[in-house]
Symmetry: C2
Subunit: 512 residues, 2 copies
């Protein structure tokens, strides 16, 4: 077991996370702190030096973190400082001061490294292949072009939410001419990037401004999930929100639901940067990444030590589900793995029957692997608890809706329940066709679960086929108690018939 | 680590559970199966012998259980058979047959032992001192009188839901004269018990009939919790349900929500026994126990091996919460324990301020111990996840409402959240005064949490006092970073003032 602390000293905020890595290499976030300390504040008037007050604010928190690191015996500390320190004339002496006062070995990273690490945080946690990525901080923005999961271009530009706010004095209400001036300034900087695609490539955004805008949108639309990572925000609606923000005073902004208090002053400058960028690349939606620099710092360390082949990157979903499973002690992992295998076999062999594809297969796999996880909470009603875990699991590679679909499949693994849907906050996220998918996949999971009713892996093989009149399954088993399996499968047969409009015919073959 | 299997071969159903005992003595249910096999069916016409069909039904399931026991390498098997086998003329030869065919060493227990074990299951899981207990099975009812948690009287009478149904042919619709005849028969049996109290002592009921009636009542009233254990059912409403049941046909009963299919025939006979007993003792409510004989069998084994001093019995709540905590791996158990200590210190020293009592103290203790458990599910939103765990935890010694209050206290341990209440299925379970309690206790928990903001147990002592003008707290700390604690406490001060109508004045004393 190893604990890794990551500190990200940004120009606006400082972040501190602790990640636990277990013996089998599973990793898990176990602590997080974030404070807005405005390290870059006052630099413009201070001859481009970090002010003494700003340094003190940082040192105070770093001392606390150092104390936690020491008291929790954390062996690995990865600490990086970004644009504010990078651009400050007294940056180097500040880093020495940090080392002397707190013992924390902090590295000032270049804009290029910042882009690299932000990219790493995203590419480990969002399953997109080709996209434009930006990370808007307090004093800089990093932009990268990603093709086939590789970063092909990167740039760091020293415009950020805090520095722009100071430059244009935009912390309170701004005039329309002021807005225009800011937009033109930002636009002129962005226009210099020759490789920016104009073709409406997906855009992924990192940073506090992005997260705050997404949170405001979620509050406004009553979004049922308390999750920002991988949230998709339509650009049209985002622009409306930014227009509105640009016409409010700082005081008025204090009452906007979702907008953090510490950001009422810098939100306008930050929003305008995002607006200009999205406009320039003709984006239709902005995908929010809650993971960025600090996760990137962690993964650089982790991949080097635990995953040199980058297995994790190759199959994000499977690996993150496995990672999650390792962090919750399952009573009977072998049962879950066996059920998963059988459910996927049905899915694969019955493709002509259900006509579903790779995405749905992923949903079935995720649901099968997690279907019993809720036993940890309570054996009674464990399908419901497993559904709760599935909906809230820190897994990557599914959309929000897909993860909720998995939760419903899990909930129904002992049969469909109308009661579960009543008052469920997520029910409205699914459309009619999603429900069809959920019920069909849940039926496969239910069948697979019934075929391991005695928890003894007695079914060695299943062969699924079909005609225009029926769906057929041959079950090869090695048990004296096949009756119990047949008994368990019985109530599912009419369900199957209703869902697939064909009778399910099961034949049992002993294999001794 | 040890696994214990318990098999309860009843006259109506057979039950099989597996309980895992970890190295530190924590125990946890990890598997459960139940089948209605009607072992006592047909005995009347079969010269009081178990029929061959009934024996085959039992043997088939017992083989399956034996197979699971073997494949999971379960070392300890505790198997008991009750009234059907006890009263059968061929009981002994059946037990031999079970042993020969499955290897399971089954013990036929006496009516007295059955009462003893049922009592044990209840006294470990429901925190009542003085009560009347009954366990209504398929072929017998055990009744015990409990004073000060000790059983002072017991009796087993051979009337049960299955045997009475056969005797009076009451499986379908019954006439009013038939009902009267049954009631008189039951009443005559019960009237022979000289020690039955007539004073309205609380009545706790075990058994499938009781559970089914409770489930029907929960469905009818839209009860938000999926939990039967410790459910309180008003006798007036129960009698209305029984009246209704007595006028329905078996076919009509098939559509009653909550009534299990396997019980549509025997529910009337079972209900009438309960009705007669409750009437005789002038009960106002029936408390349902989901734990009974099989938990009793387990606890007899467990207490002997792991808890000879019966610590568990002495403080059910604390011990069951600790037991639950052991089954979920907490990242930082020391933090939770420290926070619990501080929260309870505040509660104890500020009694004149809040005027709450022992019950509320128990709520605060439970909430504090579980406040971070949700990190297991996901670090993000962990207060919400801890609340989910708390609401669904297998802990004993609280009423349903109290456990839900704990969940809300846990949910608010970083501050009150209106959003959490919206769409929460449990919100309506609490009255205005319960909300006051929840918010006040959550405020203590929040203060205690803030005082360990850096997770380093830096606060060594707190002394709370008060005047008519203010509430005062002296904090003795050993840290260079007291600012972080002061900072964490700041947002709670206005909350405190609002809730207790007094300003909170905190003084900080370094202890080096």
């Amino acid at each position: 077991m190893e604990q890794v602390a990551v500190i990200d000293l940004g120009s606006n905020s400082i972040r501190f996370i602790i990640i636990e890595i277990t013996q089998n290499g599973a990793h898990k976030l176990v602590y997080q702190e974030k404070e807005s300390i405005r390290l870059s504040a006052g630099m413009l008037e201070n001859n481009m030096c970090l002010t003494e007050e700003a340094q003190q604010r940082a040192l105070k928190l770093l001392s606390v973190y150092a104390h936690i690191i020491e008291s929790q015996h954390i062996g690995t500390v990865l600490a990086v400082a970004t644009a504010a320190v990078r651009n400050a004339r007294n940056g180097a002496s500040f880093i020495k001061r940090v080392r002397a006062k707190t013992g924390i070995p902090m590295t000032v990273i270049s804009g290029y490294a910042e882009a690299t690490l932000g990219f790493s945080g995203v590419i480990h946690t969002i399953d997109e292949k080709d996209f434009l990525l930006f990370d808007l901080g307090g004093a800089s923005i990093e932009i990268s072009l990603v093709k086939n999961k590789k970063r092909v271009k990167s740039i760091s530009i020293p415009i950020g939410a805090v520095t722009l706010t100071q430059k244009f004095d935009s912390s309170d209400e701004i005039s329309s001419s002021q807005r225009k001036e800011m937009e033109e300034f930002i636009s002129s900087k962005l226009h210099r990037i020759s490789w920016l695609p104009k073709s409406g490539l997906p855009v992924i955004g990192i940073g506090g401004t992005v997260r705050n805008l997404a949170k405001m949108h979620q509050r406004k639309t009553g979004y049922p999930l308390p999750k920002l990572h991988n949230y998709h925000l339509p650009v049209k609606e985002l622009f409306k929100m930014i227009d509105y923000l640009s016409r409010t005073s700082a005081h008025e902004r204090e009452n906007i639901s979702g907008l953090s208090e510490e950001r009422t002053d810098i939100i306008i400058a930050g929003s305008l940067v995002i607006e200009q960028l999205l406009e320039l690349v003709n984006a239709e939606e902005l995908i929010i990444s809650g993971c960025g620099l600090r996760e990137g710092v962690f993964f650089r360390y982790y991949d080097n030590k635990y995953d040199r082949k980058k297995d994790y990157l190759k199959n994000m979903l499977v690996n993150s589900v496995k990672n999650y499973r390792h962090s919750i002690p399952l009573h009977d992992g072998a049962h879950a793995s066996h059920v998963t295998k059988m459910a996927l076999t049905m899915f694969d062999q019955w493709k002509p029957l259900h006509r579903m594809h790779g995405r749905e297969r992923k949903l079935l796999m995720t649901s099968s692997l997690l279907h019993d996880a809720g036993m940890l909470i309570n054996y009674y009603s464990h399908a419901r608890h497993s559904a709760y875990l599935t909906a809230n699991a820190r897994i990557f590679g599914l959309s929000h809706k897909e993860q909720i679909m998995c939760a419903f499949i899990v909930a129904f693994h002992h049969g469909y329940s109308r009661k579960f849907l009543k008052n469920n906050p997520y029910t409205d996220m699914l459309e009619d066709e999603d429900w069809d998918t959920v019920r069909q996949l849940a039926c496969f999971l239910q069948l697979a679960e019934a075929l391991d009713e005695a928890n003894d892996r007695a079914v060695e093989k299943i062969v699924c086929s079909g005609t225009s009149h029926s769906a057929d399954m041959r079950v090869y088993f090695s048990t004296d108690n096949v009756d119990i399996l047949a008994h368990a499968v019985t109530p599912i047969i009419p369900v199957f018939r209703k869902l697939f409009e064909k009778p399910l015919i099961i034949e049992w073959f002993p294999e001794y």
